[in-house]
Every structure is written in C-alpha cells, then in structure tokens.
Subunit: 157 residues, 2 copies
DNA sequence: TTGTTAATGAAAATCATTTTCAATTTAAGG
DNA sequence: CCTTAAATTGAAAATGATTTTCATTAACAA
C-alpha cells in the first residue's frame, strides 16, 4: 500500500479514538462518503451512497454515526426547512472551505456561496467575541442563511 | 369602542384579505397571541395559549395558519435543532426589532441578541445585494445563529 | 339572506428520527 | 492468536411533529 495513502485514512481514526469512540467499518464507510461528497446529504442520501460498498449497514447506524460526528464537530448538521436534516463534512485535511447558504423557498434549491466571506468572517469574529463576553457563551459555531426565490421560481410566481 | 383601538386589530385584516385569505376567529386568536408573546413559540405553545380564549380551535389549524402567516412573511419559522419548529411574529405595528439568536447546544436555551446589529445589517445589505445579482436570487430574508454552550452547560462539561 | 368557497376539527396517515434489545464486533490484555 | 468486556450494530417497533383527508362549518360577496 503506497505510503501516500496512509494519511488519507488516518486522521479521523485519531480523532474518534481520542474521544473514546471506536473506528468501525460502518463509521469509516460513512466518513469516506462524507469526505468525498460535495454538498449537503440527507441521512438517506448517505445510506444510499454507503450501501453499495457496505450493504450490511442500516439507516439507524447512519443516524447514530452522524450524531457522533456532529457532536465532535467533524460534520455540520443543517436545516433548510424541508423537514429533513442535511449533513456536510466540516473540513478536509486540506482545511476548511468556509461557506454559507442561499436557500430557495420555492424549490428548495441550495446554493453554497463563499462571496463576501472575508468581510463576514471579520465581522462575525468580532460579534462572536462580544456575544461570548456579554452572554457568557462559549461559541463553537455559526450559520448564516439567506432565503429567497431563485430565478426560475421568481418567474413562476 | 375607543377609536384608539381600531388600528390595533386592523392592520393584519388588510394584509390577509389583500392576499385572498379570510380573517377567521381562529386566525385572529393566533395573531393575537403571536403579536403579544415575547420569544419563540412552538405550534403547541401557541395552541396552549390560544385554547383558553378559544377552546374550539384544533392543533391542525394552528399549523395551517402558521403556514399561511409565514408564507406572507408575517411570521418567521425558526429551527433551533431540537426537532420542533418555533415561530415568532415578524414585526409589530410599531416596526421590526431585528435580532438574531444564540443557541445553547447543551440545554437548548435561546438568547435573542441585538448587539452589533447595525454593523451586521450594513454588511448583510451589501452581501445580499451581491448575492442577488450573482445568483439571480430574490432574497427576502436571512438568519444568523450562533451555537455554543451557555455558562451553566460549559461548567457541567 | 343566500350561495360559493375557503377554512375548520377530528382522526388517520406520514415520515424522519429514536429507542429497544439481542447479536456482533472492536480493541485491550493475556 | 485467543479471550473478554464494553461499545456498536441491525431490525423492528416506537415516537412525535407535522400533514392529509374528508365531511362540516363559517366568511363574505352579492
């Protein structure tokens, strides 16, 4: 097995084990799918993608693993208002590609955007600091979502 | 009936009727509760509050009305990650008091904050304009939520 | 008042997510 | 490699918020 490969699988092993979790085949399969997938997957999406390579897995384990991973901050759990949660990998070994979401309330399409992220990040850092102090919160995370109608849906109206 | 009272009930009548909806007793009761309540109510919270004054009402109608109202932008539907939606009145006759949320992932407590709102609003206006143009979205709305642990929950850990 | 149609409540249906529980797998120690 | 305790699993049942169905009622234009 080529050396270059070892790091690829290695880092989440440490993260899980370090927190007292075991790295099982199911979890590995899920992490594999999440890390490769672009975009926002529902539990069932993930199930579908994991199943071919690891048919043994059940939906229940997907949910359980997703819970663990989002508890560890390795995965973000998102809500776009359509009644099912979406999950996305928080960051790869190469680092985070921070982005936010633009949600069409007509067709539920979701656009990831990274525009204006720099200014945003700057402001949010400040805000976060201020809120932390004022309300005694230890802030771990934030979301920003814009809602509106995409071009197609706006026309239909 | 004192003149001063007429405006109080009047403005949402117009809004609903103007969009082809009827102003029923149930809807009025719900609007009444929403407009007076501080904070974020679940459908069931609203049911509880409406029931004493209007026992005839069913939970189903609460959901249906809430749907209509959020469709009209009179109510915001919020998700704090605990599996039940919360609703808050978008603005009173006196005008909006724009705020965002700080959610404790330990105990689900939610703090409304208005700090830094001015800078935020400024930045978001810009961002909104840019995104609108770039992605062809007609943006109606946005949310910002910070997640973390409140003081009490941080200690427990 | 009357007719048309939207709106309603109750009960049943949905559907994503959780829980239960017995069987299996992991990883640490011999 | 083998054993063992505890974590993890899958299947099936349970949960619980939200929706749908459908027959009845209420709103309001004429």
């Amino acid at each position: 097995m080529p050396k270059g490969n070892c790091r690829g699988n290695g880092w989440w092993h440490g993260k899980l084990r370090g927190c007292g979790y075991r790295l099982t085949m199911g979890r590995e399969a899920i992490l594999d799918v999440l890390s490769k997938a672009e975009g926002h997957l529902s539990a069932e999406d993930i199930y579908m993608k994991v199943h071919p390579g690891y048919p043994h897995i059940g939906l229940t384990s997907i949910y359980r693993t997703l819970d663990v991973l989002s508890g560890l901050g390795m995965v973000y759990k998102l809500d776009f208002g359509d009644g099912r949660a979406r999950y996305e990998f928080a960051e790869g070994p190469k680092g985070a590609h921070h982005h936010h979401h633009l949600v069409c309330t007509g067709c539920n399409k979701v656009v990831d955007y990274t525009d204006f992220i720099d200014e945003e990040v700057e402001l949010l850092r400040e805000t976060e600091k201020g809120l932390s102090k004022k309300y005694g919160f230890k802030i771990a995370n934030h979301i920003i979502q814009f809602y509106g109608l995409c071009e197609a849906c706006a026309k239909k109206k």
